[in-house]
């Protein structure tokens, strides 16, 4: 995969994130509870895309501790 990006929002306010593959296709949309998304956040916490970092800075996205 290449990256995740902030995508659409559900009616209940849940934010969906899109996984962008190396061919630029989006094959997965996920909430912030999706374990692989959390693992990616944890592994890339020092170099996150600006839109993802903005969500974290706004307190709207939390990185959970990976095992």
């Amino acid at each position: 995969m290449k990256t995740y990006t902030v995508d659409y929002e559900l009616e209940d306010g849940t934010q969906m994130y899109a996984k962008v593959d190396t061919d630029d296709k989006i094959r997965l949309h996920a909430t912030d509870e999706y374990p692989p998304f959390q693992a990616w956040l944890s592994a890339n916490r020092d170099n996150l895309p600006s839109d993802i970092q903005a969500k974290i800075n706004a307190g709207e996205l939390t990185i959970l501790e990976a095992d």
Partner: protein
């Protein structure tokens, strides 16, 4: 052990005669995501259901639901190195794991004076011989862990391993749908995960205790590790693997991941997905897709092929998608799927269903732990 002795031991252990395996898909029968993944450098589920891979910068891999297996089994999960990492960095790691839902572990009585031991058995095969590490982590107790060494004695030979994990009278496993155990087999790692000691009693989490005996799979190209017949059962007595039907295991897997079309039942072009709905405006098909069984929780992800035109809105004619399907509502029982075809001129409110325009088309939902 003779069959008579095995039965006597089983009865003596007061272990259930059926439904005793806490592992789902232990015989690696179900692989909804496909039977092979190549060129993998990351985490996630690779082929067989319920068995997750954690790979942090440790080589490149092919994962197979392999047909090579011990007698009585048809499948195994095979991990093969295609780009080696002879000198893993400190934080590099590669492991296979299965997370077990906490409410399915209440029979262990953890956190009470009546807590019981559990026994793990599995078949393993590798080109490498030597000692390796297998651990249990308790998620509800700050990943308190217990871990043991096992040994692969003969290269390229199926061997059965049996390990009994002690009871924990102090660690309560919550009676909920989170994960209670993480059962993990370390295949290789850097120094952050080794250098400690195996834990024969439940003790506080320490990364250096997780891969004390490093098998080192992936130090060379073509290194491989295969596993099947994984069973985790109550008590100190191992029993023969509890074979379950494909349908039984498939139903269990669907609680955590659902992909349509079903394995071995791929959609041909122009065949329908199991979701119907109505036009929400002239260009958006809004569909309710009911899962075959309720999932563990509302899914946290929807997957599709990545190509909008693999999908179409069907009313009285077809209109191919111009954006990939998305979900706008998740519950444990269903999802609301939207498919947009920007050029469609259907009538809002008309009934519709979603159709595959390609054999690549699929929809999948994850409620994995």
């Amino acid at each position: 052990m003779s069959k008579a002795a095995e039965l006597a031991a089983l009865i003596g252990s007061q272990t259930a005669l059926s439904n005793r395996n806490l592992i789902i898909n232990g015989a690696m029968q179900v692989a909804q995501r496909g039977t092979q993944v190549t060129g993998s450098t990351g985490d996630g589920y690779k082929t067989v259901d319920r068995f997750n891979v954690s790979n942090s910068s440790l080589g490149t891999w092919t994962f197979d639901q392999d047909t090579n297996a011990p007698n009585g089994f048809s499948n195994s999960f095979k991990v093969t190195c295609t780009t080696a990492d002879a000198s893993p960095a400190a934080s590099d790691k590669l492991l296979i794991m299965q997370r077990i839902e906490a409410q399915n572990l209440q029979l262990l009585g953890y956190g009470t004076s009546g807590a019981q031991s559990i026994t793990l058995s599995f078949y393993v095969k590798s080109n490498k011989t030597g000692n390796a590490s297998v651990n249990l982590l308790q998620h509800d107790n700050s990943n308190k862990l217990v871990g043991f060494q096992y040994s692969i004695s003969s290269a390229n030979t199926w061997e059965r391993k049996i390990i009994t994990f002690p009871a924990d009278t102090s660690g309560v496993i919550n009676n909920d749908n989170g994960y209670g155990f993480q059962l993990e087999w370390f295949l290789n790692s850097g120094s952050n995960f080794t250098g400690g000691s195996h834990r024969s009693t439940w003790t506080a989490f320490d990364n250096t205790d997780r891969n004390v005996s490093n098998l080192g799979i992936g130090g060379a190209v073509s290194d491989y590790f295969q596993i099947t017949g994984v069973q985790l059962e109550l008590g100190e007595q191992d029993t023969a693997f509890e074979h379950r039907s494909f349908g039984d295991e498939y139903q269990r897997c669907l609680r955590y991941y659902y992909r349509t079309p079903a394995p071995n039942g791929g959609l041909a072009a122009n065949e329908p997905f199991p979701c119907v709905g109505n036009m929400d405006g002239s260009t958006t098909g809004a569909y309710m897709l009911q899962f075959p069984i309720p999932m563990r929780a509302a899914p946290s992800a929807i997957e599709q092929s990545g190509t909008a035109s693999d999908y179409s809105i069907r009313v009285t004619s077809d209109a191919n998608g111009t954006s990939v399907p998305t979900a706008s509502g998740f519950t444990a029982e269903s999802a609301l799927i939207n498919l947009v075809s920007s050029g469609a001129g259907f009538t809002s409110g008309d009934a519709c269903f979603m159709r595959a325009e390609s054999t690549d088309a699929f929809l999948a939902f994850s409620a994995e732990l």
